[in-house]
Symmetry: none
Subunit: 129 residues, 4 copies
């Protein structure tokens, strides 16, 4: 899987990392049981600090996307184990401001829903839940 980090972005690197790994899971590029590179390895590959990768992995673990195994390192969790009502509530709160902005910026309801559906499908394709 390819990770593209934008060092000029105002989104912290560890957050970009987290987002891209989740996207990889959603697209089915990272499957249950699959190993992520070691913290050291990934940090070196991207050219970032160890701590940064570590923070991303820690957050992914807290959100149940991965499991940290002392021997095998970071492993993708099963889709069933990821599901979590609390997270969905948090997502709802995070998405509302974006929708308000979309509305103000002139997006119609059906336009917005079409876009969202398109993005959703770009992920769910080929992933067994």
């Amino acid at each position: 899987m390819f990770l593209a980090i934008d060092f000029q972005s105002d989104i912290p690197i560890y957050m970009q990392l987290k987002h891209q790994i989740i996207a990889g899971i959603a697209r089915g590029e990272l499957k249950e049981g699959e190993n992520l590179p070691s913290v050291r390895q990934l940090a070196q590959d991207i050219g970032i600090n160890l701590h940064t990768v570590n923070k991303a992995y820690t957050l992914l673990k807290e959100d149940k996307y991965i499991l940290m195994d002392r021997r095998k390192g970071a492993v993708i969790n099963s889709m069933e184990s990821m599901a979590d009502a609390d997270s969905v509530t948090r997502l709802r709160e995070e998405i509302a401001p974006l929708i308000a902005q979309a509305f103000c910026k002139g997006m119609k309801e059906d336009e917005l829903l079409l876009e969202i559906a398109e993005i959703y499908r770009s992920f769910s394709q080929g992933v067994q839940r």
Copy 2:
């Protein structure tokens, strides 16, 4: 309009302020040409520093939500003037990671679309575009 700031949140105050004012516009509580309180006034009302309010106003101005009128202070812009292709592109990029998370967390496509539609309508109600 009522502004509720969560001082414990990890979202910066100026960002919460920005979000809530945009939500106010989307809900039609703040209409074109209407004045926002002065930075000093609002800062005092909320109990924060005026520079924090100023930062929120500056961002809102850069994103065309408000105008800084030299005579009247901060004024809500017209919905037409807010529209902007660049912002929509930026929104798309911000929303994608949230949808990937929603998918992983077990939300079905129609569930998601239903939620989004609901939020959208909670805004667009009673606002003339």
Copy 3:
């Protein structure tokens, strides 16, 4: 002569006023001996504060563009009386940063000179010096 003030501009109103009156002189719309509206009149016409117009007139007088006559009010000065080596030196200092920006923004020398010449001619047309 028509004065268009942008109340949203980051350029102070008195400065916009000054610029536009100088432009009027340069375009020959305001000729030597001609009267400017009274401070009161102009302030009311544009919908701004008395002090703001006053400040613009004061600056124009300091820079020799107009004469303040107790009986006749503000009067356009003669082009000969406006000339002033000091102002030219000040202009040079003000224009240099703009040229540095033009260069960085990719303007070629001949492009820049062509533009400047065009602007210059849009003024000098029909004005006797």
Copy 4:
């Protein structure tokens, strides 16, 4: 690169800073990829507050002169990336009032063009575009 700030000037310090850094780029003293000092470092060197330096850097970033790299701090952008049609339009509007003044102050067209060309060349010397 040497930065000379005039604390008596009516031009804000952050603006002088911005101008001088742009001039440094135009003169080729600051090249693509080169690092600017950290806000703290520069603030201390000049003897001003770090927030003032920060404001200058933020403006330079918004105008594409520099990039804020999360790992390396402020970095000079490539000349190609600086180019931007909007900025050129804005420059045109800023330069027009100065030309009107130059005309009124008695500068002839060829005098003006000669001066501008001289300033332009003082910048473009030794800079690869």
